[in-house]
Symmetry: C2
Subunit: 211 residues, 2 copies
């Protein structure tokens, strides 16, 4: 089983690395990173660079596709292009086509979520709807072979749910124990419904200022 | 404020990227990666390579030090060497010296956790004690300026707790909302106390076979 995690300039690291750390635990899985251009790929804005060996063309038939989100997803990965062509092509044969955070905007802009239930980053729900999906505010949403996860850290939950469907509950539980995923956040502010209003407004203001 | 995340061959990606994704949200923070040798650094066993621009010598006075764990921590980062020299030096002036997973074994082998309460990956508690620390099975442990987090994914919780101490609760909550960290794991198997016995035994067997 081959898992392909797609990278592009200005993706958000945790969107990709959460699922990576889960899915490498699948017995027999080969997890590869692929990008439109091989070589260094800039991540979400602070200069860390990953070296990606595979171009999209090097990975023509992945069983599982994972599309992370990030500032690049919102900025310049919505116009139809080579990434979208590749996504449409591999989706023909994939067992699972998945995304984290605003990665679902890329899937939707490639036409793959038309009329489907899907989720995205909490601030991008309207945009997801504009792109033809049916937004759902759940943390992990399955619609047929399409799995979409909410913002950034949700890729860990989404990938564990996916691992369970691929390999069964005991294997997914072993992966969870392997990464000691027994979350105990020091605050309960991880969704706009739970965070204090002032916190939600501050995050919204900062996002508006930076876009 | 400068945050230095230390990398070395065969570190575990999520150990480093969880705290990274949290700590880049600290206002005014510069987060840098540093390694004994600059250039590509191999990660936890599956070939993804990060390009690290800074040598340890390039980062002489970080305010916060983060040491991830991984197979490399257990294998060849316990013998005293340049990484340990650097850790002892920067610890003289750091505001916070921290680790995730078996990163605490590196801190302990550098002599920085002698007699201190600390945690590590659930399978490495005995080793942490042998190296002179007082193991505690909490997910995040503070002892003075030393913060240690349990296995792999716990670095997110640890970094959020640290962000709260550095910048106050509202800022940490904004970071939590920014990464939509409202965890909803599909299973409750993230610690050996919670996972089914068969799952714990299977993970232990696999670890024994690979070491």
């Amino acid at each position: 089983m081959q898992v392909a995690i797609v990278l592009y300039d200005q993706f958000t690291l945790l969107d990709a690395i959460g699922p990576y750390q889960v899915l490498i635990g699948l017995p027999g899985a080969e997890v590869v990173f692929a990008a439109e251009r091989a070589g260094r790929v800039i991540t979400g804005g602070r200069g860390l660079q990953l070296h990606v060996d595979n171009t999209l063309a090097d990975v023509p038939r992945p069983d599982v596709v994972v599309v992370p989100g990030g500032p690049g997803a919102e900025a310049d990965q919505l116009a139809d292009g080579p990434l979208h062509d590749w996504l449409r092509a591999v989706d023909q044969t994939s067992q699972w086509t998945t995304s984290v955070c605003t990665g679902s905007l890329i899937l939707a802009s490639a036409g793959l979520l038309a009329g489907r239930r899907a989720t995205t980053y909490w601030m991008a729900m309207d945009e997801l709807e504009r792109l033809g999906a049916k937004p759902v505010t759940d943390r992990v949403v399955f619609d047929g072979k399409y799995m979409t996860a909410a913002g950034v850290s949700s890729g860990i939950d989404g990938a564990l749910a996916l691992a369970g469907r691929i390999a069964g509950d005991p294997v997914a539980q072993e992966i969870q124990l392997g990464i000691e995923y027994d979350p105990q956040p020091p605050y309960d502010a991880g969704s706009p419904a739970k965070a204090p209003n002032a916190v939600v407004e501050s995050v919204r203001r900062r996002a508006a200022a930076s876009s």
